[in-house]
């Protein structure tokens, strides 16, 4: 079960793509099958499991209270962490987050933060003193490519699944009341990732395609079809035309997904 594919297979993948085909039979702009299951971790305030082909990601939400940042005293705090846990791939190693897991967490974070997916002002308990802190932990359990889309989807699905306890402020003290409320979600960004292989764009690259690709481009699209985050990765490049083409396709793909998910 090696994670490095042979040169022969690399060539094969590249040649197929040039002909508009892919090794697993998909069209260039087809996603693998997507399954989203919410509420899989009852202990968490919210959770979701995403299967994107054989790529598997669980996201869990924990909520704590704490101090706001000094430059945003009225806003709750959002923290995204991603773990490439070693059981997910022979190339993941135990240890502190490396550049790949940090980049993954920051891309997921940007999609949510920049689209203003959460109304963070509603997470303020006492301005400048006490706010809710939302921990989004992305846990990659099986790596078969395109962790970015799977993780962004799991994170958003988990947020939509999250319930916060009710509370009221009585004489300056926070008192927990019965019942739960959903998070104040304003937008539902969807991330679409492209690989450039043999100078051709494909969406949703799986593991073997990632090993062949020149570069990667991820675009987060919000409910209005606007772009709310972008990230190029990999040691290759895109032409400006390829980027603009990717933007157009990403809007379509995000629209389809949004319909399927009823988001």
């Amino acid at each position: 079960m090696s994670s490095v594919i042979t040169r022969v297979k690399q060539k094969q993948i590249a040649q197929l793509v040039a002909k508009g085909k892919r090794l697993d039979g998909r069209g260039l702009m087809d996603y693998r099958e997507i399954k989203v299951e919410q509420g899989v971790i009852e202990r968490a305030e919210g959770s979701a499991r995403v299967l994107l082909g054989r790529t598997e990601v669980v996201a869990g939400i924990k909520i704590e209270t704490g101090e706001p940042f000094s430059d945003t005293p009225n806003a709750g705090v959002l923290t995204v962490n991603a773990e490439l846990v070693p059981l997910a791939s022979p190339v993941f190693e135990p240890g502190p987050p490396d550049e790949n897991s940090i980049e993954l967490a920051r891309i997921v974070d940007r999609g949510i933060r920049e689209s203003k997916a959460i109304d963070v002002e509603k997470l303020c308990i006492e301005p400048g003193k006490k706010v809710f802190i939302i921990f989004i932990d992305v846990y990659v359990l099986n790596h078969d490519g395109n962790l970015i889309d799977a993780s962004a989807l799991a994170a958003m699905a988990a947020l939509l699944n999250t319930k916060m306890f009710n509370y009221e402020i009585e004489e300056g003290e926070m008192k927990i009341k019965s019942g739960y409320t959903p998070l104040p979600i304003k937008r539902r960004p969807i991330t679409v990732t492209f690989a450039k292989i043999n100078d051709v764009l494909v969406v949703d690259p799986w593991l073997e395609e990632e090993q062949v690709m020149d570069a990667r481009l991820s675009l987060a699209i919000d409910d209005e079809g606007d772009i709310c985050a972008a990230q190029k990765g990999g040691g290759g490049y895109f032409t400006p035309e390829q980027v603009l083409e990717a933007v157009k396709i990403a809007k379509e793909k995000a629209g389809e997904r949004r319909k399927n998910l009823d988001w």
Binding site: E64, V85, P96, H143
Partner: protein, 244 residues
């Protein structure tokens, strides 16, 4: 947030979740749950949800860690940040480091280490949700993952705890019983060899109570052992069907 209930065992002798003292929680085991690992397993035991994966045998890096006459086993027991009530930092805690060690030492006696000298096996355990008894459920799952990876083994290792709760010796403690009870005795067994490969204890027990707890835990192990074998058979049968 949790408050201690007044009684952990009610008048009818039943526990908080309705179990009898010698009753296991519902258990679901799946062999081969992950596609990248050489072997894997998923276990649910009560609200515990745990994945185990095995990679290897493989070459050792750096080389000076290799042993000339046997393979090396590494083990990492790790809890997801969302697996417990208060978010857990992903950095390994002292508890996780200790458990990684005792889990590794509970699996080692089951493996024919001398079959693959100069190689290494990695056992990775991820607790997705914890509800008491995670070390035992992890061992149960990890042993299946080792078998699923085709590692030559003397026997499966199966683990279960017994303990004392409100003056009663009970089987397979869940989180509240573990925290509020009097004692907890997790143990691991290779059933065919009657070999205890894990034994720990927290709390206070007379030697008599200790003996009862050990015996009850052994009974629990034997029941789970049947489920382990079933899980492996199910995967084997499914594979055969796919192949045919």
């Amino acid at each position: 947030m949790s408050r201690k209930p007044e009684k952990l065992i009610d008048k009818k002798g039943l526990r908080l979740d309705g179990r009898k003292p010698d009753e296991l929680r519902p258990i679901k085991i799946e062999a081969g749950a992950l596609s990248n690992a050489d072997g894997s397993a998923y276990i649910e035991q009560g609200k515990n949800k745990i994945l185990a994966a095995v990679y290897g045998p493989k070459e050792v890096h750096p080389k000076h860690l290799a042993l000339q006459d046997r393979m090396v086993i590494r083990c990492r027991y790790h809890m997801a940040p969302f697996s417990v009530q208060e978010r857990k930092s992903p950095a390994p805690s002292r508890r996780e480091i200790e458990l990684s060690k005792v889990i590794r030492e509970s699996l080692e006696p089951s493996i024919f280490l001398e079959y693959y000298p100069r190689t290494i096996i990695d056992v990775f355990i991820e607790v997705l949700q914890a509800d008491g008894g995670t070390r035992c459920a992890s061992i149960t799952a990890a042993s299946i993952a080792l078998a699923d990876a085709g590692i030559p083994m003397r026997d499966l290792v199966v683990a279960c705890a017994a303990g004392k709760v409100d003056d009663t010796i009970v089987l397979d403690l869940m989180d509240t019983e573990d925290k509020m009870g009097t004692a907890d005795v997790p143990l691991a067994l290779m059933p065919n060899l009657k070999a205890l490969t894990l034994l720990q204890m927290d709390g206070i027990l007379t030697s008599k109570e200790f003996e009862s707890a050990v015996n009850l835990a052994l009974e629990g192990c034997k029941k789970i052992y049947t489920l382990q074998k079933e899980a492996l058979r199910t995967k084997y049968v499914n594979m055969k069907e796919v192949e045919e």
